[in-house]
Amino acid sequence: MSAIWESVWLALCSIGRSKLRSMLTVLGVLIGTAAVVTVVALGESAREQVSAQIQSLGSNLIYIFNASGEGQSQAGERAGYRLSVRDAEAIRRQVTGLKAITVYSSTAAQVGSEFESARVDVVGADQDYVTVRGYEVVSGRDLTLLEVQGKAKVCLIGQTASTKLFGSADPVGHSVRIGRHRFSVVGRLSPKGQTPFGTDQDDRIIMPIGSWHARVSPGKAGRVDMIIASAPDSATVDGLRNQMDQVMLEQHRTPPDGKRSYRLLTQDTFRQNEEEIYGVLSVVLVSVAAISLFVGGVGVMNIMLVSVNERRREIGTRLAVGARRRDIRWQFLAEAMTLTTLGGIAGLGLAQGGIEVLEDRLGWAMQLNFAAVLTALGTSLTLGLVFGLLPAQRAARLDPIEALRHE
């Protein structure tokens, strides 16, 4: 063990004798390590972030969207196959075991309060929306069934919209204006942050769907953008999804082209999609980082070869006083490995800096975890071993007489 530290110490001395060159040599390794560590941290953080965002949608959700694209939806639309409040009612009646089901339609509109006016998402939903989506009413109260049935001029308000329109004041008891209509704010919702698709879930006001159709987005009576149901637990999601599909098939007779005019998705589908995207992204980023590490390693090998060549006389002297080939080989290997490990440590420092900058820019919590540190050190050590082998071998193979003759 002490022999190893001795080699490391000798390597450090040797590296210390040509500081600038050593620094330039390990620059590649430094950047490569920093890239790997940052990318891994970024990937992990992004995954957590997305996972949290998906979680923020609610739990065990089943979505029904209007099918879109491929011209088929237009055909469907002409035939009148669009999601409607009636579909939700049918599911509510026929599918047992759902925790809750709600409808959702949204449009951006200019909304005014007595203080401010701002563009905010205006959502038409029903009394179960808050339950399905997992919001909490932090001030005031939820929408009631009576208000939904009566198309009352009331609304709930999200955190961001509330701040935009009312500042720090509590909006409950005040009213907002959309066009010529006034809606009284009955409740304020807890903040949720962004969806995985990048929309702010708190920059919205929510009102009874009937009221929304009548006053905010007329001309689409009964139509909704989506139906959202929530299952009581993850085990029942698939069964309930199939039941909902059955009901929807009955509601919407199969169109002439045989394609369904709606799409059913579960929250898990989002998660899988996101996982896939991040999986591919990580592979790409890690590959790029690995390439930079490889290039860094080749740089180290190159300089080590030059160094072996320049130090032929030193090697000759060492051989003359009794160094065995393996002593010489180990000396240069230790030097390469010490060099790359120093690069790795410096790379960790750089990564820490990079992560702080990214944290600042993205507003995500990121950190250098223990695994990343271990990976960086392991990688740089291995890099030294792999790329130091050829120069070390070359040094060890030198003929002492030839080496001593070198000027």
Binding site: A320, G322, D327, L404
Partner: protein, 274 residues
Amino acid sequence: MARAPAHTSRRQLRLIAEGSARTADELVGSPLIELEGVGKDYVTGPEVVHALIDVELSIPRGQFVAIVGASGSGKSTLMNILGCLDRPSYGQYRLGGVDVGVRSVDDRALVRNRLIGFVFQGFNLLPRTSALENVELPLLYRGTPKRERRRLALQALDQVGLLGRASHRPNELSGGQQQRVAIARALVTRPPVLLADEPTGNLDSKTTREVMDLLEQLVADEGITLVLVTHEEDIAARAHRVISVRDGKIERDDYNTSPPSGRPSGPTALESAP
């Protein structure tokens, strides 16, 4: 022809490797260096160069031998073989009874480490490395513990009169001082043989005398066998024996009956050294 059977050689090599105190004593008996019909051929392209042809040489312990000869005479090849840096193409080279010509690369490294000290014309000190660390170098490859290494290296530096320069780097030392550090490095392992290749070739006449006095003193006081290559006659004249090499053969082998006079004895010179 082989006076020492192979198993004896192996046992002795092991003793050498173990650094046994008895080893040096065991080596005293027979001639320390014995070359029997040693030759070296180099193949350079289509030609074969006979650098050394059928050399017979026997050097007893404690002798100071000068090897002289023109460049290309084969004296460098002879020195390389004596120093176990090269192996003979044919013939037998026994060092302390051990047939070292047939040993493996690592065995020859061991022999160089245990039995031979080198002094080069160009000093060959590691640059940007202190005198002390330079002197420690052979002990490093012997696996001597750090504390012991330091102690022996300081002792060797003291012996060459450079104790006060232990922390100096080669570029902070004069040529004569550098060569004395190199001699300390050769001495630190207490080898029976010192091989010096033009040790004063890069030195002026005053430092040449100092270095030669030091080497002679080692022969006289320590019983070291000194084999020295030189082309300077007055240096060769100080040796017990002068071997002239020409065209790969030993042309003359003369003993200097009376040592040249008019020079101070070793210890005095050493004490007066700067």
